[in-house]
Structures are given as C-alpha cells and as structure tokens.
Amino acid sequence: MWEWLIKFASPMNFYLLVNRFAPWLGRAAVVLFAVGLYGAFFYAPADYQQGESFRIIYVHVPSAWMSMFVYMTMAGAGAAGLVWKTKVSDAIARSCAPLGASFTFLALATGSLWGKPMWGTWWVWDARLTAELILLFLYLGYIALQSAIDDRRMAARAGAVLALVGVVNIPIIHYSVEWWNTLHQGPTITKMDTPSIHVDMLIPLLVMIAAFMCYFFALVLVRARVEIIEQERNSKWVQELVLPPGGHK
C-alpha cells in the first residue's frame, strides 16, 4: 500500500496516471451534466411555492457544496505536502485554489440571482451567504499569497499553513456569522429550509453533485499535471517527453 502510494507520488507516475484517468473523469462529467440538467429542467416538478425559479438550486447547491469540499481538499493536500514533502500534493493544493474560488463565486452569483425574485434584492446578509463570501476572501487571500512568492515549493508550503489556519477558522466563522445573523435579522426571510425535499427533486440534485465532483477532479488533475510539468521542466523525463524521440538539440 505504502509503496504504491510513494510510487504514485513521483511526478512522472502522476503524469502518466492523469493521462489515463482525467479524460474518463471529463467524459463522466459531461454525461452526468447532461443527465442532471435534463432532470433539473424536465424531470423535477416545479416547486409549489417558488415555481420554476427554484431550479437554480441545481447549480447553487452543488457549487456551495464544492466550495467547502475544494477548500478541504486544498488543505488536506497542503498538509500532506507539509508532512511527506511530496511534489504532487503541493501541485494539487495549488491547483485547487482557483477552482474553489470559482465554485464559491458561482454559489454567490446563483444565490444572488435566486434572491432577486425570492427576497426582492440581489444581496441579503443571510448567514450562509455571508459565510460563503468570507470563504471567497479566504480563497483570494490564498491566491494572493501564491502569486506573491516566486518559489513554487515555498509558495505551496506557505499556502498549506494558511489553508490549515483557515480550516480551524471556518467552523468559527460559520457559527459566529449564523449567530450574528439571528441577532440582527430575525425571521423576516422565508428560506427554503423545508425539512425534506421531494425525491423527484432530489435525484437530479444528486446527479448534479456527482457531475460537479467529476468535473472538479478532472480539472484539478489536469491543472496539477501542468504544474508538475512546469516544475519538473529540467528533469530528464520531461525533456524526453517534449523532444521528439531520437532527436537531440
């Protein structure tokens, strides 16, 4: 098991593995998106209260879910890089940040679009929206730190510490914001906190979540592959990869 993991962690094997698996993840994402979106638009019934506009949850909920999941992946990969000093985990952690920030932004944008007809304004200081906004700031801080440090490995390791500090803080931020919101707002907002969701609405949502997951993993692997190639550009196997076989400069 350990030998296999260490073998996988070598940049060259990672490159070969990504070449094999990323296309399949990409295809799975396309199929799942097609099925999920069809289900979201045609299979799921309209909500008895919100009508057709509830259908945005099929993008909103998976993005919000991914925004947290990607942060955890980023912190986990960063921690693995700190402990085992593997180049691959550093590359994965760095690749997660722009994707996570995009998912967070998508969750905020769709939440805002949904809020306009439901709440009558583009923005409400709702606890979950606020926590999501702070999460976006954490991602952007991570990206700013990455671009400020020139050395890639040092940037990845510094980012790992920052991401771990963020992981400790995310629950605190989440609960403090929730608490602050209940203190300030009161129950003026009718949220879609229905205790259960109808199974016909749930199935497309689950398919969409699976599609987002495949999409994320396909992209993060491809991005990490680029990072690895750039990082290892002076090593022999990358040179052999780029130069035509037999050809010598």
Binding site: I134, F137, G141, A144, A148, L162, V165, S176
Partner: protein, 227 residues
C-alpha cells in the same frame, strides 16, 4: 532550573524587543495616530448626532483597531529578518515557540496595550457611556492579543516579501471577522441591558485557541520562509 532558563530566554527577547520598539518611536506612534484619525473620519461622514454615534461606536472602534493593528504587524519580524538575527534565532538551540511567544507578547505590549488607552479617548469623541466603555475595554483586552497572535502568522508567511503590508491585511482580515462579531455584540448587549457573559466566554475561548495554536503556525511559517 530548566524553568528558570526558559523564562530567562522569554524575558530576554521580550526586553530586547520592547527596547527596540520604544526607541523606534515612529513605529510605535504611527498606528495609534492612524487609529484616532480613522475614528475621526466617522463622525465627519455619518454626521455628529449623539445617538447615531453612540450606537455605532463599538463597531467604529473595533474596525479602526483591526486596521491599525494590521498596519503594525509588518514590524514583528521584518527588521530581524533583514539584519539576519531571525535566522540566527531559528538556528539557535533555544525553544523556538518561547522565542516566538516573546516576540508576539512584545508586539502586543507595543501596539495592543497603548491602543486600549487611545480607545478611552475615542470613547469620549463618540459619546460612549461609561458602562459600554468598560465592556468595550474588556473586549479589547481579550481581543487585541488575538489580533497579535493571528497577525503574527500572516507576518511570518509574508516576511521578506515586497508589499507585504497589504498582503498581510488581505490574509488576516477575513480571519478577524468572528472576533469583531462577538466583540461588537457584547457592547450592544450592554446598551440594551442584556447579559454579556456569553460573548466574553467566546472571546476568551478564541484567545485560548489562538494562544495554543498560533505559535505553532508561526514557527512553521517562519521555517518555510527561511528554508
């Protein structure tokens, strides 16, 4: 014996940093000046009505305090980094967490503690009643060490970088938001005659959490940056 040795180390670094800080008076005074100028901006922009200012005072004071402390963070490690003494400290056989704690304590004594005095003054400017003033002071007493502790992580991560000041602010301001929420709601609870023990416990818990975890993160960050 070991106890005496380690506390000797702590006191040595603390004394050294305090002395350096007190001699470099502009670094000491500038954040405080910044604080009081930011506080002055609010009555000018939202109007001098007593009731409004009194209601907004805790928020204004805390935002100004957070901004001022994020400006002063740059100084924790920078001069030691530039003259190489930080590297020597990390290479020395002394317990490094203690060393870092001494540096953070010195930063708090030079930035957080004098800030509390300036808050008394700003309370007069913003018509804060005495009862709320006392609560505000307690929240600052519990909260400003957290600013120094978490801020030290950002200072360590960005030590030696160009334009590190702005980057530090970007990294830490989101992390300070829970602190602001609890501190400001404690004061507004007092204004409404509600209990504040819950908020004090939360602030205390954040302080304990930051005290136990932040030095490790600072040490890890410094080691990464010095590698």
């Amino acid at each position: 014996m070991i106890m005496a040795k380690t506390s000797g180390l702590y006191l040595t670094i603390l004394k050294r940093d305090l002395m350096l800080g007190l001699r470099n008076q502009s670094d000491l005074v500038n954040p405080l000046l910044f604080f009081i100028i930011v506080v002055t901006l609010f009555p000018l922009t939202i109007g001098p009505e007593q009731a409004t200012l009194r209601q907004l005072a805790p928020g204004i004071v805390w935002v100004a305090a957070v901004l001022a402390s994020s400006l002063s963070l740059d100084g924790i490690f920078r001069s030691d980094y530039e003259d190489g003494s930080l590297e020597q400290m990390l290479l020395s056989p002394q317990p490094k967490l203690l060393l870092i704690m001494a540096k953070i304590s010195a930063h708090w004594l030079l930035s957080g503690a004098p800030l509390i005095l300036f808050v008394l003054f700003s309370g007069v400017l913003l018509y804060l009643p005495t009862g709320s003033m006392l609560t505000l002071l307690v929240t600052l007493l519990l909260g400003t060490p957290v600013l120094s502790l978490i801020g030290a992580i950002a200072a360590a991560l960005t030590v030696g970088l160009r334009s590190s000041g702005l980057l530090q602010a970007l990294l830490i301001l989101p992390l300070f938001m829970p602190l602001l929420i609890f501190a400001v709601s404690a004061v507004s609870n007092v204004n409404r005659g509600l209990s504040v023990t819950g908020e004090f416990y939360f602030l205390g818990a954040m302080l304990v959490l930051a005290l136990t975890l932040a030095p490790f993160a600072v040490l890890a960050s410094l080691k990464i940056r010095m590698a």
